[in-house]
Symmetry: D2
Subunit: 286 residues, 4 copies
């Protein structure tokens, strides 16, 4: 017996009395049963945030008409509204370079049925991980990138992604800076994993930087990619303890475990529509 | 300028459509503005849980009449309802024996204004910490306990607590088993800190047990006291890594840091009415 | 340029003055340069533990004669001595059932060159993961197990392991109890991953047990397998926070991340000869 | 029965064969029994680090002559040597401003016998915590600081510290920048607690910075004070998870628990002579 389909609303707007009552009234009046509701107010910004998930089994509106029917309320409260359905699995492209740990981790989760997404393709700027893609039967696209061809290659990548109706791009240790054209094409839909506890050690070789500074904890950060390198909204971070005994190579090795779990968790929240971006920060409804 | 008073509702009932809409309708209809709403459903139990906090500034009902006015809705939905006001600070009694760390930690938080409670008294079965109580100007009551006088002393303790209108009893490393009479007098209002990661190492000398077993992590657990020793609903737990180099004495020393922060956090949630007990488990709205 | 070969000594014996001086004298007198030395004393047991790793580049003894030449000193101090060479990669057999996460995690680490071992074979009691083994080109042996054939199948497994000169058996979510014959054949060489924070939730379905108890933290434990189920020496443990919102299925999903990293870390220490077993506990030299 | 006195050597020098054998030979030849020996090599720097603690009970040298007798070996190997005795308790001055949490935490540990130090005095630039000092019977010195009097007040502080034979200065949330004169007077003996995970959020108001950036984890860092603000050698760090729901005030409140435990742990290692500074980093022998 498959789980019944659900719909998820992500809302933010100026705070005012009666918002929850209004939105839940919309659901109730069409026989929807709320499964999960989380609401958050930022008093300093007078901002209201809500995630609401409801069961569509007995819902009296067709999926196609829900968004339109929400508009009067949305206009009344100046709401920004996103609507998702659990049955519409996100289509995710994985971008990789040479390191295999994030790639295998995501593919293994996908194979085990843990990640409710489709992965139609893997994009890489090196051929190193082509055998990994082939093992899992996922088309592998090689876009070697040089200074000269970078703009053209990215344009080709965007075309490919659009053709494959990709929703979400995951930079699974993709060692290239993403250019503005792609960022604009996928706003808040490109997830990166940075191998430091941001904002410490922005930029290149963060484990080397960490070793020089002598920190006792290293971290990894998953964030949405924006035009400012390593400055996008942070979705998830995690850390582990290290010591003076750990060389740079040890930090690199240990950090891989952080990178793969942090990226996977951020992606989990993203594909379940639990993340709302606001003022370069995230509200993660968990 | 003092913060405006707020009211908090804690509700649980069988799940059915429209619950959130009904409750928020009650608030809206009396001009309350919701500050925080968290709702949780346990599908396996078909149980609905909600915490709702609203601003009383423009609320059109008097505090005294709110609970009565909620009753028709509560009966309709078979709701169990708790109502609290931020302005009614809980009155907390601290129970101690000889160890000072939890006591000083709570008193320092209280003095810094971090804990929104009154602490009218400290109860102890030894006189060791009397100077600590005196330093902070809090009345100290010494109830030496033997096998013979235990029932009588506990009766006297209950009488004292009732006379001082105590809401919450905190066993801050109180090395006595609480008898059923007191548990019944303060249901889900007695917080204990157990010095292990429950349910591992129930009972006496958990650090010794941990050392014998050779665990690599130790923990502390704060729970409500019930008739079953160390079996009450868990409010909070935390852990730290240890190694073969740590003796039992090291575990005792290191564990104190866990004990005091875990107990303080559990108390923080308790006094802010963020904890709901259900089937010997807690729902912590955080 | 390959790293020079190193030798590692693991010693335990009754504590007495001069032990470190004696052992380091042996190394110095043959022109060995110590890379790492860790020593630990358990005063309660008057027990001495040491791990010493040295560079063999200029060492004046042949590898084959080192162990024999150590014997006089070992006898003098009643030492238990283990000697390993980094160049002798351990041969590891992975035992699996149906879940893929630990298997893929170890295979990906191996492919990336992170784990300095050979993996000559995978043993399974179901065929589910045969494709995974095939993708990585590792021979897969299927031993279906029933009550009736269990003893015979285990005997066949032991024979296979001996034939393939296996040093280390990793139960990577292998859902069968290992019988005494195999445990005796591989003393302190069989690593298991148990999906709880032992000694909490010994036995079957630990996540269900954890959910019923309402713990706020779940864990995973890697230990050597002994005749007492889930009672062997603990090598590594880790935990993560959970909440009332997590169903049993959530705990299972979240726990997989613990299981794979805890098992991989325990195996890392094991294959680098950093683990010494003593009185059903481990000394982990890290 | 008091524990026997022990001596601790902290050594660093260029790495070469035979160092451990030489040093342990010195101990053995005078009938010392080694309790703890940890040794670390940084291959990239060819640097050798060692901490060695031995029992003085049967040692045949007087304490006063040990250091001189070590010199020939120290010169031979270009060793930097520190020698400490457990019986010579460090004398610690606590510097505070207005916040009480680190102060009470350290005083409670001291009263419980956990911290093997003397605390002859508390220095403050405000009078807020004078009652706290008085409660614990510790002399409180008030040095109000303005731009104009800062140099003179620090000179007076140094004089006071010298007069009281202070070894270690602990900045327990002391909200003043320490000037070079004091840093030179107490090299690697002034511990600070910075309320961020350094090097993120250097300087003022780190919790505000963290809130603006939207990090999901906050931290605290204890380090030795050097001439570069927040750039000194890191001794210890710890972190905790936060979320979008946490206001700046929540971060401040939550962070206090990190600050007090991180500072206390760093001080614990410092007073037990477990910390060695090298190239603006620490080797912590734990």
């Amino acid at each position: 017996m498959p789980a019944a389909d659900t719909a998820t609303l992500l809302i933010h707007c100026p705070d005012r009395p009666g918002l929850v009552h209004d939105v839940t009234g919309f659901i109730s009046s069409h026989q929807g049963n709320i499964i999960d509701l989380q609401q958050h107010i930022d008093p300093a910004e007078n901002a209201f945030f809500m995630r609401l998930e409801w069961n569509l089994e007995k819902f009296t509106l067709e999926k196609e008409e829900i968004f339109a029917r929400l508009q009067p309320m949305a206009r009344r409260h100046e709401m920004q509204v996103r609507l998702h359905f659990a049955s519409q699995r996100k289509r995710v492209a994985l971008f990789v370079t040479k390191e295999n740990h994030c790639l295998y981790d995501l593919l293994a989760r996908h194979e085990a049925g843990e990640l409710p997404v489709d992965i139609p393709l893997i994009v890489a700027n090196h051929e190193t991980l082509k055998p990994a893609a082939e093992r899992f039967g996922i088309p592998f696209y090689h876009f070697p990138i040089t200074k000269d061809n970078k703009a053209a290659q990215e344009a080709a990548q965007i075309e490919l992604l659009k053709k494959e109706r990709i929703d979400t791009v995951v930079l699974a240790r993709y060692m290239q800076i993403i250019s503005p054209a792609m960022i604009e094409a996928f706003p808040n839909q490109i997830l990166n994993i940075h191998h430091s506890f941001l904002p410490a050690f922005v930029g290149a070789k963060p484990y080397h930087q960490a070793h020089v500074r002598g920190v006792k904890i290293i971290g990894a950060t998953s964030h949405y990619v924006t035009a400012d390198l390593d400055e996008g909204p942070i979705i998830h971070q995690d850390v582990m303890c290290v010591s003076h005994e750990d060389s740079v190579q040890d930090l690199v090795r240990l950090g891989r475990d952080l990178e793969k779990t942090v990226l996977a968790k951020a992606l989990w929240w993203h594909v379940r529509d639990q993340v709302l971006v606001y003022q370069n920060k995230t509200v993660v409804f968990d």
